[in-house]
């Protein structure tokens, strides 16, 4: 009788497919995963503590470094939380600009997801196709804020500047080309037999488990629960738009991929509606230069980020600095199911699971 031993293998923190400084300690039995332990904290920058030493406005650039793949979403969440704390009204045009930028960020983030899933499974070309299209979004960010990746475009009470002339044709042609792009992804990535074999039935996340762990965002919707903060607890002007919440059936890697591709389409819908309805006017309301949070006042604001429910919890201090800022990072919560869905699978499935849970380590480690 041959005796076999379990052995551990460290995936990360320096590894091509861990999307940053993620460390997964895999307990292996040959190629079969018996356990996967997630170690976090390699990209900890103590963002929450930094916030306490900064004024409310000064923290905006830090917020965009939480989820650097969808730069406008964390900044949007943060400024909306501050507006809630201060009771600041946002001008109408800025609301629409925010929606457009947020949805563009969501598309950009999902494009990175689709591309990085493809490259994590070994299909290098898929990545390039997604990045080609993401590039157009980054160009639009550059037009509006001068920054491509970490655009600190949101401001308390509005946005930093109005949309430039050249932005509109760029975004319209992007929306127009989107069905063609999605056909390409479906042909090259989603439709590929090998990719389907590696994603279908892999990393199944049951809806009750997902709810128990607090998983949110596309990962939860892939498990079949139509929960989206944009519908469940609309923020900004999201109740004015007509869009669907795509849901999956099995909660496996394939569903997580398909749901995101469908979300790209829905985001395109929202952008199209926002462009039609957008009024003229100011992009930044009359907001006092010095923002002071009322002492002891607490607010919690949540938005639907591309990774899930992104929450900001602020406590005022009576000064220009907040007393405490806490970020409810969806990546952090979502990563916690990784051991659960990886057990019993193969080593290669861990890679697919990490890629489809779509963690951003900047956000989960903060």
């Amino acid at each position: 009788m041959i005796k076999t031993d379990l052995y551990t293998i460290n995936i990360g923190p320096q590894h091509p497919s861990t999307h940053g400084g993620l460390h997964v300690e895999a307990v292996m039995d040959g190629e079969i995963v018996r356990d996967a332990i997630v170690h976090l904290g390699y990209v900890h920058r103590s963002v929450e503590k930094i916030a306490e030493a900064r004024t409310y406005t000064q923290f905006i650039p830090y917020a965009s470094r939480l989820d650097y793949l969808a730069t406008h979403l964390p900044t949007l969440g943060y400024v909306q939380a501050v507006e809630k704390l201060m009771g600041v009204e946002v001008v109408e045009r800025a609301q629409y600009i925010r929606v457009i930028m947020a949805e563009l960020s969501r598309i950009a983030s999902h494009l990175v997801f689709v591309g990085s899933l493809a490259i994590d499974l070994g299909a290098t070309t898929g990545l390039i196709y997604c990045f080609r299209d993401r590039e157009r979004i980054l160009d639009m960010f550059e037009m509006t804020s001068g920054q491509r990746l970490l655009a600190s475009y949101m401001r308390v009470g509005g946005v930093s500047a109005d949309l430039p002339e050249e932005f509109f044709p760029a975004v319209q042609s992007f929306i127009k080309d989107m069905p063609g792009m999605i056909d390409e992804y479906n042909g090259l990535i989603t439709g590929n037999e090998i990719l389907q074999a590696r994603c279908k039935g892999i990393g199944v996340l049951n809806p009750d488990v997902a709810l128990a762990y607090g998983v949110t965002g596309p990962n939860l919707r892939a498990s079949g629960i139509a929960y989206d903060v944009r519908k469940a607890d609309p923020y900004g002007i999201y109740e004015r738009f007509d869009f669907e919440i795509p849901v999956g059936e099995h909660g496996d890697c394939m569903d997580r991929l398909v749901v995101r591709i469908k979300e790209i389409e829905q985001s395109g819908n929202i952008i199209r509606q926002a462009l039609e309805q957008m009024p003229e006017g100011e992009v930044r309301g009359k907001v006092s230069k010095v923002l002071k949070g009322e002492k002891g006042k607490e607010v919690y604001h949540r938005i639907e980020s591309s990774k899930g429910e992104l929450g900001f919890y602020l406590i005022g201090n009576g000064t220009e600095n907040p007393y405490r800022v806490h970020v409810r990072a969806p990546s952090f919560v979502n990563l916690m199911v990784l051991p659960l869905i990886s057990r019993g699978g193969k080593l290669q499935d861990i890679i697919a699971n990490i890629a489809t849970l779509d963690p951003v380590l900047g956000e989960s480690d903060r």
């Binding site: 293998i9 497919s17 499974l121 070994g122 074999a197 290669q348 890679i351």
Partner: protein, 345 residues
């Protein structure tokens, strides 16, 4: 043109004999010269191939590929080779040093040995073995041992995992590879590669044996450790698998050997299925180069399109699909031969 290289060889031999060297020694010197030529051609060809692979992948991925160094970036690989040559040769402290250091050398030796039997043109085989195909398959399977040596010697879990995968993969894909070639041997009635080429002067074997060609192609991709079957390397999972701990020129030797294998397997594919050096107008040795490069382009196309298959799927694909299909192919081929012989063709 047709006999250009052969004539050079004849002139050299007669010159050596005229110097008063015995004929046996002259042949031996010529053999050494032939091997030197092959090794040089392999090395230079790999430089071209790496450049080509980058350009092809760039073309497929909407980018330019190397374009800075020289016209169309063709000196890029030379610069890379220089970089690799000057890099530090790191040997892990806990590595099994002898095995670790010799693995890349054995790998490249095995890869070069494959060229002994490949007909590079009409009457241009280094060693015209009458069991050439058998030799090719048996020597080709030796490369598994070298990868296992690299994986074991590195004393790294990733490397060992990559090596184990490689062994499992090669053992499973060796069988459909050999089976897919059996049909050709049955039709040609010979294991000698020159005879097999000669048997195709009317009809290429890709038309008579299309199923065998497909199974050979898939099995060969797995044998080559190329995408979508690049299990031992598996950059995204195993960092670099068996080659994780290798640096500088030792790593480059693996790289060189993989491309050498690629050329050898493509040359074999064009010899067995695409009529080898047979072709109109051009000299025979140009035809085989053209065909080999076409086959290699298909290999590159596959690599840059498909995701990596999962290990267990890979095994079950071999045992459940490829082997039965190639067995059925052999039976049908046998039946066909009997039928046509009975018809008196």
């Amino acid at each position: 043109m047709e006999n250009l290289i052969l004539n050079i060889a004849h002139i050299l031999t007669s010159w050596l004999v005229s110097l008063g060297i015995p004929a046996l020694w002259a042949d031996l010197i010529l053999l050494i010269l032939q091997w030197t030529c092959i090794v040089m051609i392999i090395t230079l060809n790999v430089l071209v191939l790496i450049w080509l692979e980058r350009k092809v992948s760039g073309f497929m991925q909407l980018r330019l590929g190397p374009n800075r160094l020289g016209p169309f970036g063709c000196f890029q690989t030379i610069a890379d080779t220089l970089k690799l040559l000057t890099k530090e040769d790191i040997i892990p402290a806990k590595a099994d040093k002898l095995i670790f250091m010799t693995a890349p050398m054995f790998f490249i030796i095995v890869a070069v040995l494959l060229y002994a039997v490949i007909p590079m043109g009409k009457d241009m085989t280094v060693v015209d073995l009458n069991v050439g195909l058998f030799y090719f398959i048996s020597v080709g399977s030796l490369s598994t041992i070298c990868i296992l040596m690299a994986g074991w010697g590195s004393n790294n879990k990733w490397s060992l995992l990559g090596a184990m995968r490689s062994v499992a993969q090669m053992v499973s894909y060796e069988i459909p590879l050999a089976f897919s070639l059996l049909g050709i041997v049955m039709i040609a009635g010979s294991l000698n590669l020159s005879d097999i080429v000669a048997a195709q002067h009317k009809l290429w074997f890709i038309i008579m044996q299309p199923v065998a060609f497909v199974t050979y192609f898939i099995a060969a991709t797995a044998e080559l450790n190329r995408g979508p079957f690049d299990m031992p390397e598996a950059e995204q999972e195993l960092t670099a698998g068996a080659y994780t701990e290798y640096t500088g020129m030792r790593w480059a030797l693996f790289f060189l050997a993989e491309y050498t294998n690629l050329v050898a397997v493509s040359a074999l594919a064009s010899t067995l299925f695409l009529g080898g050096w047979l072709g109109p107008w051009l000299p025979s040795w140009i035809w085989i180069i053209i065909k080999t490069y076409l086959v290699m382009l298909v290999f590159m196309w596959l690599k840059w399109t498909f995701p990596r298959i999962r290990m267990d799927h890979l095994m079950s694909f071999s045992w459940k699909i490829l082997i039965p299909v190639s067995l059925v192919n052999i039976i049908i081929t046998g039946g066909g031969i009997l039928f046509f012989k009975g018809m008196g063709w």
